[in-house]
Symmetry: C2
Subunit: 202 residues, 2 copies
């Protein structure tokens, strides 16, 4: 049964475990990919144009912004990153599901420009646990960790307008929940109806 | 994390495999029950009041109908069956998820009276396969089977307004999809938000 690809937008505060969770589900579903973004940052060794990123000049990036070709874009540490509307449309038409791993601001931009996306927010189980994870994994100063916690508090308030919230307390449970959202969204009647109409002449 | 119970309404044409699917997921989830209905039919040997059905007199049933106490009710082969709004509210408040296995007409009645239910339709993979299943499992005459197929065609058209459609082609896949819908709906931000607000003082 053929259906259009679904766009899943996943956000989380730093330390919630988003990257590991996304990697886990992309390994499980053969029809699920990470979206390939445009960036002005130079390729790192081993990175492939079109697989890891579309590497473009600052001029080309600015042209794309001016032409409204991005569904969302942002500046991070002096480099520019963006998701092209065209890329999303190609995935959708080819029936490929896509994970777009972006922050709340990018997600908000996208929600205004792109219909039909599914918004998922990953939460840590508590601020205490988030602090513990940030303490353990980094050699950052207390000040930087405090700044991250404050940033997380801001992002967590944004979770209100997402479609789903997954609390990453026990990792295997969070994977099961993320998997379930991906599968369930593929069963939404609005998405299945076209294929089914043909079968049953509804 | 505590949340309110969810009501899942599952419909399917005869032969789609709904009963087996529901049994399978109820065995998996300890927090998921079959809704207990009211009926005017006398108990069969081994049936327990309050577990299998609430057995009531015709007079009591009519009183409940008149008092608007049913979320949905129907007559089947001269007996009356109904789901009490009170029962659904109790499950919801106790955080127990409930499967209500009813036909499209009952589901429509319910949708008008009860908010927050999740509507799932189980489809056979094709009319050919539905016919094969009905032929195999019953000793019914061709005429009765034809009537069932026509009934199925009507019911399948109703699937349009359900939230999810699960095509029961490969049984293990259909179980996975139904499981996923049950888990994913528990992650809907509208349902998780209250518990999460406390954790993060959102």
């Amino acid at each position: 049964m053929k259906r259009e690809g679904i766009l899943f937008i996943i956000s989380a505060p730093s330390g919630a475990g988003k990257t590991t969770l996304c990697k886990e589900v992309i390994d499980i579903f053969p029809n699920l990919r990470h979206s390939v973004s445009y960036t002005t940052r130079p390729p790192r060794p081993g990175e492939v144009h079109g697989r890891d990123y579309f590497f473009v000049s600052r001029e080309e990036f600015d042209r794309m912004v001016a032409a409204g070709e991005f569904a969302e874009h942002a500046e991070v540490h002096g480099n520019f990153y963006g998701t092209a509307l065209k890329t999303l449309e190609e995935y959708r038409k080819c029936g490929i599901d896509v994970i777009l791993d972006i922050d709340c601001q990018g997600a908000r931009q996208l929600k205004e420009k792109y219909h039909g996306g599914v918004y998922i927010f990953i939460l840590p189980p508590s601020f205490q646990e988030l602090r513990r994870r940030l303490d353990t994994r980094s050699s950052d100063s207390d000040e930087i960790i405090e700044r991250r916690i404050r940033g997380a508090a801001w992002e967590i308030r944004e979770s209100r307008w997402y479609d789903y919230i997954i609390v990453n307390d026990v990792f295997s449970k969070a994977v099961e929940e993320l998997k379930s959202v991906l599968i369930a969204e593929g069963c939404r009647s609005s998405r299945v109806m076209e294929a089914v109409s043909e079968l049953f002449e509804i």
